[in-house]
Symmetry: C2
Subunit: 253 residues, 2 copies
């Protein structure tokens, strides 16, 4: 696709972005079908939470990276809300803290989770690629890469309902990370969509916006691929968390 | 491990590095066992070659990145040989060109291979993580991350013998990339080992050297994990090459 193809209307661009989600968003992944339908073992849920912590912990870093690219105070005021959501207003507050309550409830020591030493290398590579994308690519691509938030309220609904129905080792309280997200995600997605549509002024830029969302879908999808191979098929790569391990090797559990 | 533990002798450090290889090098991965024993289908070999091309194409970028970190002319003279090996002395020469002869023989159009658009996202994330490691970490870690070359002559021997014995669609000529590597890898590994041992002057630095090799093993292992899920299990992530496709979607095969 070259820059000489016709500029898409705002409606067409939004439709194409939603189509990317319909084809590539990770609600379609076999791991999520397994997780949401009660098909995961306790250890698979543990592995999912342990690895997802890394992604969550890097979201404020990613958002601070995007902040370095936004050149208007108003844009930065809007984007800062994301960092506040995840880090909270004080100790004990925020999305990251709610994720740690989930990993606490799954038997992990906090030090172990926060150290990230048990995560799959593929988790780290995917999440770090996301942060680097936001640093290195154009600012409209960096903003557009957040547009999976257009799709997250639906998957959150499926996930909370599914997990509460099927796993007696989670509760509304331990899944509290998710109950807070939909209005935040919706607010964030509206800003990012308007920004992406407004700032992509050539067809080439619009194509980059679409590719940025495809990239982000791949960041999420590849993490689930890695979880499946390691913990559903029990082909755990050297050095990663092994079921039964709740703290760092050699440390007290 | 803190910097207050005892400094390892050169022999102990080398032994620990070799132990990392014995535990984590990708000759142990189920995909390589399958590849070398004739267990792969033609499409799995195609997928392996298509994805491995990305790694090969980024090696000169990685080595140029390390070159930016080496502050002596002699060190750079030694390290430059690696870039010459892969890019060659002229058009049609070098390791990357020999890899393209392999992908040619497996039915891919060169434009498609070189575009890298068919590769698995996990391949891209792992390889890009390797380049970024060499950019961002200390210089001795960057050099040490190349030390998988201590182990590559053995796997190359297994691979060439195994593939020639079992697959009638490869030949010594199409596997020529591999026949040239062992003396190059040995020369490179000797330099990198001496550099790593000589420049890691505290126990903390020695531990980082060991961790750098573990990191590199994870870069290689995760790529094979991704190949297994996609092409052995047929769970190909959205957007990646699908068997039967020899050129870009919509382009002439």
């Amino acid at each position: 696709m070259s820059g000489e193809e016709a500029l898409l209307s705002a409606e067409e661009l939004e439709a194409r972005l939603r189509q990317v989600g319909a084809e590539r968003y990770h609600n379609l992944h076999r791991f999520h079908r397994r997780l949401h339908s009660g098909g995961c073992t306790y250890e698979e849920v543990q592995a999912w939470a342990l690895n997802r912590y890394y992604y969550q912990s890097m979201i404020p870093i990613k958002d601070a990276t995007v902040l370095t690219r936004l050149t208007s105070s108003e844009d930065r005021r809007q984007w800062r809300k994301r960092i506040e959501d995840h880090d909270g207003l004080r100790e004990g507050d925020g999305g990251i803290e709610r994720w740690l309550k989930l990993t606490d409830s799954l038997g992990f020591s906090r030090d172990y989770v926060i150290s990230t030493e048990g995560i799959l290398p593929a988790t780290r590579f995917a999440v770090d690629a996301y942060v680097e994308f936001c640093r290195a690519r154009s600012v409209v691509e960096a903003v557009a890469s957040s547009l999976t938030e257009l799709f997250s309220p639906n998957i959150i609904g499926e996930r909370v309902a599914g997990m509460l129905a099927h796993y007696n080792f989670v509760s509304r309280e331990t899944l509290a990370y998710f109950s807070q997200r939909p209005p935040q995600a919706q607010r964030d997605a509206e800003f990012a969509l308007a920004y992406s549509i407004g700032h992509a002024r050539t067809r080439a830029e619009q194509d980059l916006v679409i590719k940025a969302l495809e990239f982000k879908c791949a960041v999420l999808w590849s993490q689930l691929d890695a979880l499946w191979g390691a913990y559903v098929e029990h082909e755990i790569p050297p050095g990663a968390w092994r079921p039964g391990q709740t703290a760092a090797q050699g440390a007290a559990a």
